[in-house]
């Protein structure tokens, strides 16, 4: 048994797959709402699944846009499941009634995540600019559970909820959710434009993570996950992630609706196209991915004792605010 992960994996472990940027909501923090992109046919999506299966990518997570906007979602998922992929998705829950939950179950979904930003209905509805959306999101969790699909809950941490994440956990508990993702705020798309209003200051991020990590360690019935590499710089942080720094381009890639691959949904740099380029060449040799995998310390990261663990924090955030992968994450409190 050997548990050191130092070499690059032979393919991503997860493809975060945006079938469409279309969505029935207009959320204030959304990275993709203003994107437009040609969409592929069902047959092309199945060709993409063939590539992923051949490369033995184990996990595919549909995001968006709202995945349920595509009427062929079930067909693509069924095909991917048949090919041995483990399929999951994230949804705002609006279109997820009892019938949809049953279809998701039948098409092989291993789990479905519902985005909920606040345990207070009015705040969630306001943030998502969609009256009634809280009620439908919560109902979606119940429909999924009744259909036998494992549920998760996702919340992007922002100024509206960072003091109330315990209430989000309580909401998850009430609806039988066993896994909650507290995502870091990404400053891309609308999130970038609204960041003055929504993003926390570095000191607030630090205080939030210290408290949230304490709650995570005390909580046994719900797994709480963060996806923020800058946490590695906190004193006493001992988790051993599979890779240091951002996992994008090392463990995962993002697929856009036209088959273009980007390191993650928040970095708009195209590595190549999955249908027209050789996947191995992109994965191993792409200059963009190489650069993300071999970051050099710049600015205050230079000489920072946490660099080896943190690698400058979230590469997407550094890129969005400075245009340079290697600049320090703007959320860094050091």
């Amino acid at each position: 048994m050997t548990d050191n992960f130092t070499d690059l994996f032979s393919a991503p472990l997860t493809i975060n797959w945006t079938l469409s940027f279309r969505c029935n909501f207009v959320c204030s923090h959304c990275y993709s709402r203003d994107e437009v992109c040609e969409e592929l046919s069902t047959a092309d999506h199945c060709r993409i699944v063939d590539v992923l299966a051949e490369k033995k990518v184990p996990f595919v997570n549909f995001g968006g846009g709202e995945p349920l906007i595509r009427s062929d979602l079930y067909e693509i998922a069924r095909y991917a499941t048949k090919k041995g992929l483990n399929v999951s998705m994230n949804s705002n829950g609006w279109l997820l009634d009892a019938e949809a939950a049953k279809s998701l179950m039948e098409s092989g979904f291993r789990s479905v995540g519902i985005s909920i930003d606040s345990a207070e209905a009015a705040l969630h509805d306001d943030f998502r600019d969609q009256p009634g959306s809280f009620e439908r999101a919560v109902a979606a969790l119940d429909h999924l559970q009744a259909a036998g699909v494992k549920t998760t809950m996702s919340s992007v941490i922002s100024r509206i909820n960072y003091r109330h994440f315990r209430e989000l956990l309580e909401l998850a508990r009430t609806h039988g959710v066993k896994q909650v993702y507290l995502h870091n705020f990404k400053c891309s798309g609308r999130g970038f434009r609204n960041r003055q209003e929504l993003d926390l200051s570095p000191e607030e991020w630090k205080a939030f993570y210290l408290e949230a990590l304490k709650v995570k360690n005390e909580t046994e019935d719900i797994a709480i996950s963060f996806d923020d590499p800058v946490i590695a710089s906190l004193p006493g942080y001992e988790e051993n992630p599979l890779v240091k720094g951002s996992s994008c381009g090392k463990l995962s890639l993002h697929l856009r609706p036209n088959g273009d691959l980007t390191p993650c949904g928040f970095i708009p740099l195209v590595v190549g196209n999955i249908l027209t380029d050789d996947f191995d060449t992109l994965w191993y040799d792409s200059p963009i991915l190489q650069k993300m995998r071999h970051k050099e310390a710049k600015g205050k990261c230079n000489g920072c004792g946490a660099f080896e663990q943190c690698l400058g924090g979230c590469t997407a955030r550094a890129f969005a605010t400075t245009g340079d992968f290697c600049e320090p994450d703007p959320h860094c409190w050091k």
Binding site: T2, N4, F9, S10, L13, P58, S225
Partner: protein, 105 residues
């Protein structure tokens, strides 16, 4: 006959390029016991198996017992049954105890 089968909840993959590198290193006489070639994922955790462990794991598909696996590993690594049987048994016992493998039939 007690066939060995993998826990179906475990998602796993042979890291092909890495496996090739490890085989080449082994041929050069280098130490490869600590180099992972197969990754296992479950319950949000990941583990790696080295070259021999990974081969044993891949063979546990429900069609073979331990004795058949020893034969195949001995042939692949050009070693004698006697040399390998103890190590294979220890490795399989560990995985059975972790719940990653089980006996079927």
């Amino acid at each position: 006959m007690s066939l060995l089968v993998r826990n179906p909840d475990i998602v796993w993959r042979t890291e092909q390029r890495r496996e090739q590198e490890v085989i080449e290193a082994l041929e050069r006489g280098e130490e490869v016991a600590e180099r992972g070639t197969v990754i296992l994922m479950f319950s949000g955790m990941m583990h790696q198996l080295n070259l021999v462990g990974g081969k044993i794991w891949a063979l546990c598909d429900g069609s073979r017992d331990e004795s058949a696996i020893v034969d195949l590993i001995a042939a692949e690594f050009e070693a004698s049954r006697e040399e390998l049987a103890g190590d294979v048994n220890e490795f399989i016992a560990d995985l059975l105890q972790r719940g990653w493998l089980r006996h079927d039939g």
